[in-house]
Amino acid sequence: MSHDASHGHELPFWRKYIFSVDHKVIGIQYAVTGLLFLFFGFCLMMLMRWQLAYPGQPLPFIGNLFSETAMIGGIMLPEFYNQLGAMHGTIMVFLGVVPLAVGGFGNFVLPLQIGAPDMAFPKLNMVSYWLYFTGGVLMFASFFVPGGAAQSGWTSYAPLSVIASSGQTWWLVGMAFLINSSLLGSINFIVTTVQLRAPGLSFSRLPFFVWSQFVTSFLLLLAFPPLMAAAVLQLMDRLAHTSFFMPSGLVVNGQVLEGFAGGGNAVLWQHLFWFLAHPEVYVLILPAMGIISEIIACNTRKPLYGYKALVWSVVFLGFMSFIVWAHHMYLTGMGPNLSAFFQVTTMIISIPSIVILTTLILSLWGGSIRFTTPMLFALAFLPMFGIGGLTGLPLGLNAADIHLHDTYYVIGHFHYVVAPGTIFALFAGIYHWFPKATGRQMNNFLGKLHFWPSFVLMNFIFMPMLIQGLAGVSRRLYDPMQYAHAQPTQPLNVFISISAWCLGLAQIPFIVNFFWSIFKGKKTDQNPWQATTLEWTAPSPPPHGNFVKEPVVYRGPYEYSVPGQKNDFWPQAMKENN
């Protein structure tokens, strides 16, 4: 092992850092690429917020930098607004959050937490990253093709997506790359978790983070292929002029559409898309819950409340997420029987989510809490995810959904889950595992300067959206002044936009902190947080092969403050009493 541990240093630069097969390097590649895409997706949104706050007014300073097809004299064109909206969703979900949560944290932390030297298939792992990277490049490049990027929303609903400009084809091909990337990744995670756990690490001793990644991998493995099927069919519709999603006698812009045989079904796209996209929602949230659990246990210095309840809930949640997809489709006219079925499954799936949230809140009870930066983000996650989850209930009831469907209420709801929910969890994870990846700690003051404004501004952005949605403002409007019923809420749009731009500024401390800490952060030993799980028994940063000596596990993951022990943490790999 010692020979192998030094082996990494003999590799040339491009094998060690670019085309690396080491799970830690690949994890960092995923994380950095994901963060860059998160930033890019956020920039698209900040542009959209100008149009929403000041419709029809020229964008100051940078408005003239855009081409004639995007803005004329700094005034945004509707087509460009649609591109921004579609690509914001696509980039945030498929290129930002999932690669960071699963590709980044999963790759870096999971093998360390199960005591494995690497993933089961290191080369496939590398291929998986580069497929993701290629997909990202294709998505980014699609802004520069004639007609611009995809503009049919992140959901790409047929039939309009079939007759949209060529950016949609790029979107579909890009998605194909992303789907195959996550396919290889999920196989790797499942095999690694099943086959490569350290001696003594039974499933009932797995850290909850590993459980959440394990269940997430099954969702990716089984839910993405139907979207692949859907993407193939839409590509055939676009390129070979088949009519899978094209009904007969379709009228577009007042004219009967020529060139398609017809006989297809536009709702078929929605079924295939949401069969992926609902489990995808859980792909977004489960790794976040995993990260939060680790941080809460470590920073409350006590075991998680109800570990078994957490594990069974996440498994049940994963299973149920496959049979709730059509609650996105109540208004397609699929009929009250199907709606009733999906309404019931949707109410059922809220139970394990509530169980998880409740156990995490109860875990705080009686703890001696350390208010570190990661813990602040983790604590904020709980109420934010709570608001996001509870505002989802009216959407799951098909009578209430008639009023709320496709309004800003939906935007507010799922952004509460994903933005101050998942993205806060991801920030928490970065602050928490940064010392493991670099051997240096991030600055605490800058961390708090990042946290407090972000926390306040997130609520300033998404709470008013819930109000707008209740007033009936629909979500994909280019001109917010178009309808009389939306006009009274226009001041809220200005407020939201200013908050969004301030949120952009609030990320500056994070960016500064991130780069400053890589080089100048306080040096740490292998276990700066005094945590129990296996990754903290490896050196920081871990060498090639991870552990100096293969760890053996003697107990569960959260043995904090065990009575009779000298220290308040009892690492999983420590044989004797401490």
């Binding site: 092992m1 089961a120 298939f121 290191p122 692949m228 055939m236 002029h241 009519s243 899978f244 078929l268």
Partner: protein, 200 residues
């Protein structure tokens, strides 16, 4: 690379799960493939039940030729098993014979398929003609891509198998078994496609 020495259960099964990493990986992959073709077959069912008249496959497609192709593919699955069994019996020469046969039968399947496609194009039947042809070309085309993928993998193990055999015979046997699982799956998809498109 040093991974081979570092990562366990590459050549020998995990004592508890009873499988090697690659075998478990392939089974996961096949589960995902089931969902891919499951999605496509579901689309087919929805499209077919959504219209009043749907062409009968046996009236417009070449059933005898497809029957022949079915036989070809089933035979190739048998030779694939024989190739793996030869490795288990430590006979490299027989392995190469059966693997060559598997590759050739896979290619034969593609040639027959190409004739079928050509025949349809001659009569101006394209994917855009109607949703029957759209389904036919998409499903058989995607299946054809899977056959090509299988041939590439098998060809790789045929050409580079000797080197692997000399270094780590158990690993080659395990890999050929995993490739075999995939090949049987591709065969199985055709067993579903044949009646669905040609007979029903």
């Amino acid at each position: 690379m040093s991974e081979a020495g570092l990562i366990k259960h590459i050549s020998h099964p995990h004592p508890v799960t009873g499988v090697t990493n690659s075998k478990l990986g392939v089974w996961c992959f096949l589960a995902s493939e089931v969902m891919l073709f499951g999605g496509l077959f579901s689309a087919y069912i929805l499209l077919r039940t959504g219209v009043t008249d749907w062409p009968r496959g046996h009236e417009i497609l070449n059933v005898p030729l497809a029957t022949l192709n079915t036989m070809v593919l089933i035979t190739s699955s048998v030779t694939m098993v024989m190739a793996w069994a030869s490795l288990q019996m430590k006979s490299l020469s027989k392995y190469r014979l059966y693997m060559t046969l598997t590759v050739l039968l896979g290619l034969a399947f593609l040639v027959v398929k190409a004739f079928e496609y050509g025949h349809k194009f001659e009569h101006h039947h394209f994917p855009s003609t109607d949703n029957f042809y759209a389904t036919y070309f998409t499903l058989t085309g995607l299946h054809g891509l899977h056959v090509i993928g299988g041939i590439v993998v098998n060809l790789y193990f045929l050409l580079f198998g000797v080197k692997m055999w000399e270094k780590e015979p158990d690993q080659l046997a395990g890999r050929v078994e995993a490739a075999g699982l995939y090949w049987h799956f591709v065969d199985l998809v055709w067993i579903f496609l044949f009646p669905v498109l040609y007979l029903l």
